[in-house]
């Protein structure tokens, strides 16, 4: 898929207001005859495009730009048991082909999410709740509370949180900690359980195997890469938090490599994440073994990116003679 291929995608010149009951039931976008559905560890998605936690708010923020029922689903902003205010500014800084962020867990909390955010979404939107805590029993409690309400079709455990009792190391950075986290959250919910892995590890395959052994249904990878930037005029770190997470196109080849390695280590379906901004990017992840993908930072610069990517994947499948988008998964031709 060369650059010119993008020109085939019609660019809507104006967002359509949505959020009304449009009566559009479930067909995935794309050319007629292409089956765009995928199964992500027990979550039936109308197409393989989700939006990544922390980049899509609670969904309603995107109602002016796109019909939420035309994407596979979205992963809501990570929730903690109690509401959190987040870090002091500066919280973000632009970096080469990417950005650093250290937002610091700002969220409304599990209860407000269930009472206020979830009911505000239109029917037919698949919501994956993301949980983020500092202790294993609190992760499990959050999973328990999120299990049952309609529209929550799965839970994504964000394993990139620093574990307070271990001196701040991320859960996802130590296999034994990760195993305990997955075991506890697995036991706390009957919903499909995704584990979002940290890329800040030496061997992603080992972490993937740990999740599989402890009963996870799918893996999401990768989270942001730990990084740093400096303002030389002030001689201060660019972020108040000093360290931040790198996202955007800059991390895409690293993320793709990790998805490739993890998909060869486990049988679990994988949701690929990392700098995906076009259908071409998304297809690379599918070919390398991802069953679905998440669009993250690209939502900021193009709030219609997820729908355009879903359409572009279906067009690619049609152009290359794949009747089902699912047939693209792992279809990489290795030398």
């Amino acid at each position: 898929m060369k650059e010119g291929g993008k020109a085939a995608q019609p660019l809507r010149s104006e967002a359509q207001p949505s959020g009304e009951r449009g009566g559009r039931a479930s067909p995935g976008p794309g050319p007629a005859g292409i089956d765009t559905r995928v199964d992500l560890g027990g979550i039936a998605l109308r197409n393989p495009v989700l939006t990544a936690s922390g980049t899509f708010g609670y969904g309603t923020e995107f109602a002016p730009f796109l019909d939420l029922r035309r994407i596979g689903g979205f992963v809501a902003k990570s929730l903690t048991l109690e509401p959190r205010q987040g870090n002091p500014p500066p919280r973000i800084v632009e970096t080469p082909a990417g950005m650093l962020n250290a937002i610091g867990l700002e969220n409304v909390g599990v209860d407000a999410f269930l009472a206020e955010k979830l009911p505000a979404l239109p029917e037919g939107v698949a919501v994956v709740a993301s949980v983020f805590e500092t202790e294993i029993d609190r992760y499990a409690e959050a999973c328990k509370r999120l299990t049952g309400p309609p529209r929550v079709v799965g839970i994504e455990v964000n394993a990139s949180c620093p574990h307070v009792k271990s001196g701040g190391i991320e859960f996802g950075q130590r296999a034994e900690l990760l195993a305990r986290l997955v075991r506890a959250t697995r036991g706390a919910t009957s919903l499909p359980l995704l584990v979002k892995l940290s890329p800040n590890v030496t061997d992603i395959a080992e972490m993937a195997r740990v999740c599989e052994a402890e009963g996870a249904d799918a893996l999401s990878l990768v989270n942001t890469l730990q990084a740093l930037d400096v303002d030389v005029e002030t001689r201060r770190p660019a972020l108040r938090n000093v360290l931040g997470g790198l996202s955007g196109p800059a991390i895409r080849p690293v993320a793709l490599r990790m998805v490739f390695q993890a998909s060869r280590a486990v049988r679990l379906p994988i949701c690929g994440i990392g700098g995906i901004a076009s259908a071409e990017d998304a297809i690379k992840f599918l070919l390398c073994g991802a069953t679905a993908i998440q669009v993250g930072t690209a939502n900021y610069l193009n709030p219609m990116a997820a729908v355009e990517i879903a359409e572009g994947i279906a067009e690619y499948a049609a152009r290359h003679g794949f009747a089902r988008v699912a047939d693209l998964v792992g279809a990489l031709e290795l030398p």
Binding site: E14, F65, P89, M99
Partner: protein, 280 residues
């Protein structure tokens, strides 16, 4: 302005994402530029003080990943030509790679906009004295407020910049039925000094202040308004990745505790709602 969760967009307000044609992109003075864009279909109008997210440079067939993020820019005005709205104008200053690429964009090329975004200035009461204080690129946020308020309130505009050529939009302000005072740091136009010194001499308890400019200027405006017991509204600038409330990058500390997003709760805030000591 309370807690970290901002209110929704103004009721019924529409937000567009559109790739729009550049009508003109010329030198305004010094490093300042004036960009005129064709109004997109369905443009819902805007409130003075609202802003756009603007792609850093023209959008073309080849995707550009670097610089990545759109830039928040105040909507200067919708320009008039022959009685018809001819274009959406933005005044900006070339300060880095993104704005340098934007300044390279030519008429006929397209830029991506998302907007109008945020909450603008509350209009002054009829007959009230409104003091509009603009510093540097902050001047751009105030023109439409001055234009719409001049027929119904007593508007006095105070503009400041480093040097005369940096005073963006000065000619447009001069054509309004409003008082205009100017200060430059080098004395090349108006009074030599800071625009806040002009404010200090004009401020009284019955006036309402509207200000936009660099943080040190706004801090000074806040202190002056507090001392004079005058109402004041400030438009804050901040780095933001999205402009519509999801990246959570543009948080500013609130006097009541917690944070508010400049993009959704602002960019205009009542001056006493901001915890000035916590602003970077």
């Amino acid at each position: 302005m309370s807690g970290g969760v901002a209110p929704e967009q103004p009721d019924g307000a529409r937000v567009l994402r559109a790739d729009v044609e550049i009508l003109a992109n010329g030198v305004e003075g010094g490093a300042n530029r004036r960009l005129a864009l064709r109004l997109p279909a369905g443009w819902p109008g805007f409130a003075p003080g609202q802003f756009l997210m603007l792609s850093p440079g023209a959008v073309g067939a080849a995707r550009r990943d670097d610089p990545l993020l759109p830039r928040p820019m105040a909507i200067y005005r919708v320009g008039e030509a022959g009685g018809q709205a001819s274009g959406l104008e933005v005044l900006y200053r070339v300060t880095g790679r993104g704005t340098a690429l934007l300044s390279d964009a030519r008429a006929g090329e397209r830029v991506r906009i998302v907007g109008p975004l945020g909450h603008g200035f509350p209009p002054p009461d009829p007959g009230a004295e409104a003091l509009l204080v603009g510093g540097g690129t902050g001047i751009a946020s105030l023109f439409e407020l001055a234009r719409r308020s001049a027929p119904r309130a007593r508007v006095r505009v105070l503009l400041g910049a480093r040097t005369a050529s940096d005073l963006m939009g000065r000619g447009d302000f001069e054509r309004l039925d409003a008082g205009l005072d100017v200060a430059t740091e080098d004395g090349s136009a108006g009074r030599r000094g800071l625009v806040t010194e002009l404010l200090e001499r004009s401020l009284h308890a019955e006036a309402v202040v509207y200000a936009c400019g660099p943080t040190p200027m706004l801090r000074r405006v806040a202190a002056l308004a507090h001392a004079a017991r005058a109402r004041a509204f400030v438009s804050l600038e901040n780095t933001m990745a999205c402009g519509f409330g999801v990246c959570l990058g543009c948080a500013v500390p609130c006097a009541a505790g917690g944070y508010a997003l400049v993009c959704r709760a602002g960019p205009v805030f009542a001056v006493d709602a901001v915890a000035w000591e916590g602003l970077p």
